[in-house]
């Protein structure tokens, strides 16, 4: 053997990677010393054996379904993770590169394998960490959905002589508890309270405040039903919660009181009053006139010890609708453009005469469409209509 030939032979036999050539059918034709030293296989045992007999059964399936087709289609494969099975039962993690000459018969390939135990172990740790993170995300998201559902009434009550419809749509994928909420309940026979609000922030803190506001409203309404009284009492509770938790929190709220017509006078007008605490003006949608904001601007809950809060009566004639919404509607964004009050008013004009559910859904669809289906903020809408 020439010196160069000896160098070649030395490089082949003692290359810092296992080298294997396979013939037709993927049967091992030659194998270098490095591979034998590393695995403990004997050359005579491997000669003529299929290459896939030195890997796990799982890898064997992977070879047939992935590696062989890839070799055939692109002539080479790189960085395939395999597990070699040694005669003494040891398993070795390795990476494999292989190539085949164009037009070569099936199974004829050149294969190099590199030990990769540490790298593979690290990769497995990364993979496990990612799984845990994904599981944790999934649990958090499930928790958010469950919590969110608990913050909204499971079904809306039926109020005599009125249609009531509501939509809640969380921001994004709904993975986080939003700050919007609504509720509707009867606090005395024929005397109803409907609230729609937006607590600042998101997540567990917002959920706690939402729950507090919602349940406190119910408690207060058991004895006092005027929106101004309810809002004033709620403001005290939110301020108290702030001093207790030392966390800044506030909430907008629209509070509507509805006293339905007495059973003796069915069809008579309900008496409605609206109080607003830092909340966008609801719209009165009436046939023959432009949608008009109603109510008086009041102080946000949780910012002032002596808030300015008023309730104003709203007359709801047959066919009129009162539309309450959170800022997720008007502040829906598309690039630098906000959806805005103007678009809402135009839409409400076209929705005049529709029932409450159609109006609520129509607004939702328009706002989501404006944002290409991906709401940047929560959307909550409550529509009250006198048919």
């Amino acid at each position: 053997m020439t010196a160069a030939g000896a160098d070649w032979a030395d490089l082949y036999q003692h290359a810092p990677c296992g080298l294997i050539s396979t013939g037709p059918g993927g049967r091992i034709a030659t194998v270098n010393d490095t591979f034998l030293d590393w695995t403990g296989h004997r050359r005579e045992d491997l000669a003529g054996a299929r290459f896939t007999t030195v890997v796990t059964t799982g890898d064997r399936i992977y070879f047939q379904t992935h590696v062989v087709p890839l070799l055939r289609m692109q002539g080479s494969v790189r960085e395939i993770a395999i597990t070699l099975v040694c005669p003494d039962g040891r398993r070795l993690s390795a990476l494999l590169n292989a190539s085949m000459a164009e037009g070569a018969p099936d199974g004829v390939a050149r294969i190099a394998v590199f030990p990769a135990g540490d790298r593979r172990a690290y990769e497995r740790e990364l993979l496990a960490a990612r799984r845990r993170a994904e599981d944790s995300d999934a649990r958090a998201s499930q928790l958010a959905r469950t919590l969110q559902a608990s913050l909204l009434p499971p079904a809306l009550p039926e109020i005599a002589g009125l249609e009531l419809a509501a939509v809640y749509r969380p921001a994004g994928r709904g993975d986080e508890v939003g700050g919007d909420f609504y509720d509707a309940f009867e606090s005395a026979p024929g005397d109803w309270t409907v609230i729609l609000g937006d607590v600042c922030g998101k997540g567990a803190a917002a959920a706690a405040i939402t729950s507090l506001v919602r349940h406190t409203t119910r408690a207060i309404a058991a004895r006092a039903r005027d929106p101004r009284t309810i809002l004033t009492a709620l403001n005290r509770v939110v301020l108290g919660e702030q001093s207790r938790t030392q966390a800044l929190c506030f909430s907008t709220l629209a509070c509507v009181r509805i006293v339905t017509a007495p059973p003796s006078r069915p069809g008579a007008a309900p008496r409605i009053s609206v109080g607003l605490a830092g909340h966008p003006f609801p719209y009165l949608v009436r046939d023959g006139s432009a949608p008009a904001p109603v109510g008086r601007r009041g102080t946000l809950l949780g910012v002032a010890a002596a808030p300015w809060l008023r309730a104003v009566p709203v007359a709801l004639d047959p066919g009129d609708a009162l539309v309450l919404y959170t800022d997720g509607v008007t502040e829906a964004r598309n690039g630098h453009d906000f959806w805005g009050e103007k678009r809402l008013e135009d839409l409400l004009t076209t929705l005049r005469g529709q029932d409450a559910a159609t109006i609520a859904q129509g607004i939702t669809d328009a706002v989501l469409g404006f944002q290409h289906g991906n709401a940047s903020d929560d959307i909550a809408i409550v529509v009250l209509r006198r048919p």
Binding site: T57, G58, I61, Q64, H66, P69, L70, M73, T83
Partner: protein
């Protein structure tokens, strides 16, 4: 929603051959995509309407259409085949399915016999796992190992790759970074497809195949050994059985001429 998405886009359908030719619907198996058929198809393009597609989750299918519930069994893939065949207005089609798609074909012809006149099963297996006196070739532990293999081999997958693999038409084709893309898919999808493929038991469905059927059995096929091919042959009444010289599990790649000749003879035998 799924029903409203065009199956042509969802399944990356590619058509060739004369529009009035008898339709041949080629379906790839677990692992890769419709490229598996690229050396077989030319033999039929002159006389047949060729339909190639990717199962949802594979190749350039619409990954956003992947619904773990729908594709939690072969039924979802079968529904796709039937929807696709209907949407393309094909009748008298011959379904050519490789590996797991051979079984998807068997389910599809049983579900919508009005659409299909014939079935070609390349390397079929109705059940991969041994048990109850049946030999499928694998144990549950083997399949668990396969899932580990898949996990180990998707470390190269990153979210950044997904748009390119989904076949965004605005992107240049297969660059260097897309090496292995024919057989690459989202890890979660690959893992579920592996489970659906290797843990299904469709032995009882074979008798429901009511169209002329050809079974192509490779030599030394580790995935679908001889005994399994023969089982399928006996379970489908009147089926034809052809053993190929081709070795391994992918005769469509390793021996396209022999594979095409066997399919061609079957078609000619039925005047198709």
């Amino acid at each position: 929603m799924l029903g409203r998405v065009s199956t042509v886009r969802r399944n990356n359908v590619n058509l060739s051959g004369p529009a009035d030719g008898r339709p041949l619907v080629f379906a790839h198996g677990f692992g890769c995509d419709q490229n598996m058929w690229r050396d077989v198809v030319p033999a039929f393009e002159a006389d047949h309407r060729i339909v190639l597609f990717d199962h949802v989750g594979a190749g350039k299918s619409d990954l956003s259409a992947y619904d773990p519930v729908r594709y939690g069994s072969l039924g979802g893939y079968t529904d796709d085949v039937v929807e696709l065949t209907r949407e393309l207005g094909l009748t008298g089609a011959v379904f050519v399915g490789h590996s797991v798609s051979a079984m998807i074909g068997a389910l599809a012809v049983a579900q919508a016999p009005e659409l299909f006149d014939g079935l070609v099963m390349v390397g079929p297996s109705p059940r991969y796992i041994d048990g109850d006196g049946y030999t499928g070739g694998f144990s549950q532990a083997d399949i668990d190992e396969l899932l580990l293999s898949l996990d180990s081999n998707y470390l190269g997958w990153s979210a950044a790759m997904a748009p390119a693999i989904m076949g965004n038409p605005g992107r240049p084709e297969l660059g260097e970074e897309l090496t292995n893309s024919f057989c690459r898919t989202d890890p979660a999808i690959a893992s579920q497809f592996a489970r659906v493929t290797f843990l299904s038991d469709n032995r009882d469905d074979l008798a429901k195949v009511g169209v002329p059927t050809l079974i192509l059995q490779c030599s030394e096929d580790l995935i679908a050994p001889d005994v399994v091919g023969e089982y399928v042959h006996h379970a489908i009444p009147g089926s034809e059985f052809v053993r190929l010289d081709a070795t391994g599990h992918c005769p469509n790649l390793s021996a396209p001429a022999e594979t095409a000749a066997a399919i061609g003879a079957f078609l000619a035998g039925h005047g198709w």
